[in-house]
Amino acid sequence: MAMTGLIVVLLLFAVSLMAPFLTPYDPSAINAWDVLQAPSWKHWFGTDELGRDVLTRVLFGARISLKVGFVAVGIAVLLGTLVGLVAGYYGGWVDSLLMRCVDIMLCFPSFFLILAVIAFLNPSIWIIMAVIGLTGWMGVARLVRAEVLAIREMDYIMAARCIGCSDLRIILRHILPNALSPVLVAATLGVAGAILTESALSFLGIGVQPPTPSWGNILTSGKDYIEFAWWLSLFPGKAILITVLAYNLLGEGIRDALDPRTMK
């Protein structure tokens, strides 16, 4: 299962890199003669209300989704790991303060927070990535903190301290590498979550703005033309489904591989 996930993930990378070579059409070329065509040999996934080839737009949409997924998760993982390391290692009031921040952030329905922030700023792909990342670090922070709390008590940390390592060196060289495995799992699953969030935002018209194709905003026109053009709704949705599924399978696979308890 995990291998299937990995293969799909790699395929998606290949597809989004090669998108311009895989299709003869331009993702934003408007063609008044081919408006809302059902899928055919010429247009495998049909065309949208402006006569653009849906397959092409889905292929180019993969670029946006992957970009958003990775950058957003990168931000979340960096911030979460930093907070978790500091809170877990120093403990005391630093720990309490940081963990209360996590609690507060967790109180906000994250989708509300994202929408509100984007309402005040102009939606651009960079802002969306930043906001998804900045509202998604709390889980990672908790995970890392829990790991650090356990690692901190190990003998090798004591040994490192005895030979005069600085705090920074202990944290970076001795604790961080040992605390990273749950982060890897969370990051893989996080990519799936970020892709879902971005598509929902774009679907609501607050995410990636047209004419840039994203899976979410193709579905917006799918909703508008739901009575005439099922293909506009079906294919981008399937693309999201397959991508998210692949990342989830990969994440679960990594979890099983890293966790000795689930090994058979």
């Binding site: 989708f111 489904l241 998210v244």
Partner: protein, 314 residues
């Protein structure tokens, strides 16, 4: 413990207001030419934008404490609190029904998957659960709308009532409302269904491995009593915490399904507020949504203590 959290919530909400580059008033003007001079003054006055930041924060906090959320910028210019009050019950009752259906289905399915571990049934459930994790809810809503609304044409796809429903008898009205609610509730309860059943499965697997389950079996209790009485009760405990955690997701998810199905709830109000940059509405709902989550977590903590004697004794 509650007070600092609440203060933190207001602090973050306040920061969000001030995220906008330049003054929110100017941005409001730039975004929406319809906003006149009067609205501009009202806005400046409401946030006290001429004062230093900390003073603005405390003024706003003071108003919040008196439940004064300001007035909406939209044409009706009503107090935000009134607007939220008339929409909150719709969102809450919808989510409550969805939650009951979701847990009512997810628990038995999770238990079944755990009991029949590694059988075809378990694998089938796992596949469905993974698909469930990956389906975007708004896409599911679209598919359901297409299938039941367009293709079969048997369920309405927007709003809460048919036009002219006032003339129906109460039974007719109830039937009308139910028909309108079937799809939204399906979508809402689907949201975290996969997660809950997965969680239930692993909680159940852990409990089944415990010694007291072996004891119960050794006593000669029937498998039914062992699973549904001894094991289930203990496996349900962590689910209470999950219930608390799922509240922000539900409230956040209501934006999506209320917008798609045109249901006049808090999520739709929030979405409209975001689209028209109706600041007081957005801020008000953000704060209230967070407080509701806090309240939900508190209730979850208390019920956990009530349900688990080990915690009660501490």
């Amino acid at each position: 413990m509650l007070v600092p959290l609440m203060l933190g919530i207001t602090l973050i909400t306040f920061t969000v207001i001030h995220l906008a580059p330049g003054e929110p008033v100017d941005m409001q003007m730039a975004m929406n030419p319809k906003v006149g001079k009067e609205a501009r003054e009202r806005l400046t006055k409401f946030y006290g934008l001429d004062k230093p930041l900390h003073e603005q924060y405390f003024t706003w906090l003071g108003k919040l404490a008196r439940l004064d959320l300001g007035r909406s910028f939209s044409s009706d210019n009503r107090p935000v609190l009134d607007k939220i009050k008339e929409r909150l019950p719709i969102t809450l009752s919808l989510n409550l029904v969805a939650l009951i259906i979701e847990f009512g289905l997810a628990i038995p399915i999770g238990v079944l998957a755990a009991v029949r571990r590694d059988t075809i049934l378990d694998k089938g459930i796992t596949v469905v659960v993974f698909l469930g994790f990956a389906v975007p809810t708004f896409w599911l809503a679209l598919l359901l709308m297409y299938f039941f609304g367009v293709k079969l044409n048997c369920l309405p796809i927007s709003g809460l009532h048919t036009l002219g429903y006032e003339s129906y008898s109460w039974l007719g009205r109830l039937w009308d409302l139910t028909k309108h609610l079937v799809l939204p509730i399906c979508v809402a309860s689907f949201g975290s269904f996969a997660g809950v059943s997965r969680y239930m499965r692993s909680a159940m697997l852990q409990v089944i491995g415990q010694d007291y389950i072996t004891t119960a079996r050794a006593k000669g209790l029937s498998e039914r009593v062992v699973i549904w009485k001894h094991a289930l009760r203990n496996a349900l405990l962590p689910l209470i915490t999950l219930l608390g955690f799922s509240i922000p997701g539900l409230i956040g998810g209501s934006v999506i399904f209320e917008t798609i199905f045109a249901i006049p709830g808090m999520g739709q109000l929030f979405y409209q507020g975001v689209m028209s940059r109706d600041y007081p509405v957005v801020m008000g709902i953000l704060v209230i949504g967070a407080f509701l989550t806090l309240l939900g977590n508190l209730i979850a903590d208390i019920s956990y203590a009530l349900a688990d004697p080990r915690i009660r004794q501490q």
